[in-house]
Amino acid sequence: MSSPRLQRTRQASHSLRTAPAFNVAPLRFPPAARPVVLVAPIDERLRSTREMSSISHVGSAHATLAEHRWSAGRLAIMALVVLYLATILVVPLIALAVETVRTGIPAVAEALRTPEAVFAIVQTLWLTLIAVVVNCILGVAIALVLVRQRFPGRQLLDALIDLSLAVSPVMIGLSFLLVLGRDGWFWPVLDALGIRVAFAFPGLVIATLFVTLPYTVREVANVLTEVGEDEEQVAATLGASAWRTFWKVTLPNIRRGLLLGVTLTAARSLGEFGAVLVLGGSIARKTETATTYIYGALEERQNAGAYGMALLLGVVSMLLLIAIERFKSRSSDA
């Protein structure tokens, strides 16, 4: 009974687009240099992929191999990988932290306490909260429809869910602007109702919802597919209503996928830039978010604010990352 679980781990790490799946099987990193995102999924794959027997053998026997049989070629590949990951993942973050300190903690703290910065932070938190709540509800609903229902056009819908992963957020923002902006398609209606979407809070919400759509849907859909329909059908034959079946059977089964999806959603909401910039316009104390604040501060050469905000975002994202890893390892142990 262990293979479905392992499969889930694999699916989860697969759909976590931020974690490219390098199969650098025989390589292990010293614990201190293990970048959390990239290495953990590889480890899990190693342990899980039975059919890759030769590779997993190397992996499991790596202690002996590591001590006695590290050829020059293997060392070179490992050095290259470590160097590459350090360059693109670790060094920039260290640089940010160092530069923030050099700019002066008091100055940074001051910059982050300005009304503009506070507004941007609060705005981003609101957007994240809305994205999490909406995706939690609609994400589960969409996943249920996609996985449990059979209807014409289902596969097209399935493919469309991933649209926001494929296209540039800037393009998305522009497209929404053409529909919802001044003189856009729906402008007469919006104007008559007195609703401003573009360059206003609703625009930010729409942009955030669009870019976060796939995460919860995908994670929940994966789990739903893996869990199968048998338990729900049994519940029906036992006389349970659809509502009861959902709360008592389906939801507990998808809980971990939902948590993972929601965490990914939060991370994406915090970091979104292009779509909220184009559709929101980054107007200070109106449509500025944490990311667009950084951009604005850099343009105005207010390095303290930019560094401070960037570091803040970085720290929050790291915390979410740790949470994601937790959910993933727990969903594979459960």
Partner: protein, 342 residues
């Protein structure tokens, strides 16, 4: 509660899963749906439970037509091949689920759960989770869960297929006892003829979405309605022959049949235990190829002159086996055979 399946048809896209399927299960019976994989057996079960919708035909439970009823209204107990236990619930919560869904009072739920866990021999396991149970235990929890809300009928989809042979045998005996104790009308799907014959009062043979025969295990073994049934239940020789006065002629053998054969050629089906071999070096009509000991029986493979392979099984100490060894000549007598149009 009797079950009546009448003229049920079902397609999956272009694939005709069921074509005009009709049969009855009497109240209190234990009936097997027997047939090869992919023949539509499970689909019949799922249609009875309401988990699948047929294109045509009708299902009645206890005389009441249930075609428009949702599975939750049909009061059918369903046991899946892979148990489908609620994985995040304890054994007791699994068994209680149906009663709670039907809003039974708490005291009644508790009593019934205890009663069922005793019935399936899982007292003391109340607080375990499915992942902490063996396959056989899980299957028994699934049964207890299905029986808890007093279903009209019990449907079991390949209930023992996922278990190893030893556990399967034990559970099989146990299920028969359980059925006698509870008296719940039960219908189970299996592709294992031994299982069907060992357990069921009556057997429904399903092949390619049709019902080939309905009958008691003896009727099906001794009087198969079609060549398919004859070949599917038990090992049998199938020999090409021509009709003759006595019955059918197959190479050097003139075989007596219980019924007249028709047509130009026929397929004569002879069960492994319906023929006799004995050593006859002078007048033998076949040559022994191999002799396999199979525990308490011995299987003898021979080549019938001008026809081809022919096999028989004998009890290990049978006098018929005297002198039988690979390469020897044997006489052949067929004691019972049936012929089907080729």
């Amino acid at each position: 509660m009797n079950v009546s399946v009448s003229h049920v048809t079902k397609r999956f896209g272009a694939y005709q899963a069921l074509a005009d399927v009709s049969f009855e299960v009497e109240s209190g019976e234990l009936v097997a749906l027997l047939g090869p994989s992919g023949g539509g057996k499970s689909t019949i079960l799922r249609i009875i439970a309401g988990l699948e919708r047929p294109e045509g035909g009708s299902i009645a439970l206890g005389g009441e037509v249930v075609d428009d009823q949702h599975p939750r209204e049909r009061r059918v107990g369903f046991v899946f091949q892979h148990y489908a236990l609620f994985r995040h619930m304890t054994v007791a919560d699994n068994v209680a689920f149906g009663l709670e869904a039907q809003k039974a009072p708490k005291s009644e739920v508790e009593g019934r759960v205890n009663e069922l866990l005793r019935l399936v021999g899982l007292q003391g396991m109340e607080r375990r989770f499915p992942s902490q149970l063996s396959g056989g235990q899980r299957q028994r929890v699934a049964l207890a869960r299905a029986l808890a809300p007093h279903p009209k009928i019990l449907l079991l989809d390949e209930p023992f297929a996922a278990l190893d042979a030893k556990v399967r045998g034990d559970l099989r005996r146990w299920l028969r006892e359980l059925h006698e104790e509870t008296g719940v009308t039960s219908l189970f799907v299996t592709h294992d003829q031994e299982e069907a014959f060992a357990l069921a009062d009556r057997v429904v043979v399903v092949n390619k979405g049709r019902i080939d025969q309905v009958g008691t295990p003896l009727e099906i073994m001794d009087d198969p309605a079609s060549e398919f049934v004859a070949r599917f239940v038990g090992e049998a020789n199938v020999l090409a022959g021509t009709p003759s006065e006595a019955g059918a002629r197959v190479g050097p053998l003139d075989i007596a049949l219980d019924h007249a054969a028709s047509g130009n050629t026929v397929h004569v089906v002879v069960r492994a235990y319906d023929l006799k071999f004995w050593r006859d070096d002078a007048h033998g009509v076949a040559t022994v190829r191999r002799v396999h000991p199979l525990g308490d029986r011995v299987k003898v493979e021979a080549a019938l002159d001008g026809v081809g392979p022919l096999f028989a099984q004998f009890p290990r100490r049978s006098s018929l086996l005297h002198g039988i060894e690979p390469g020897c000549r044997i006489a052949v007598q067929i004691t019972k055979a049936r012929a089907y149009p080729a």
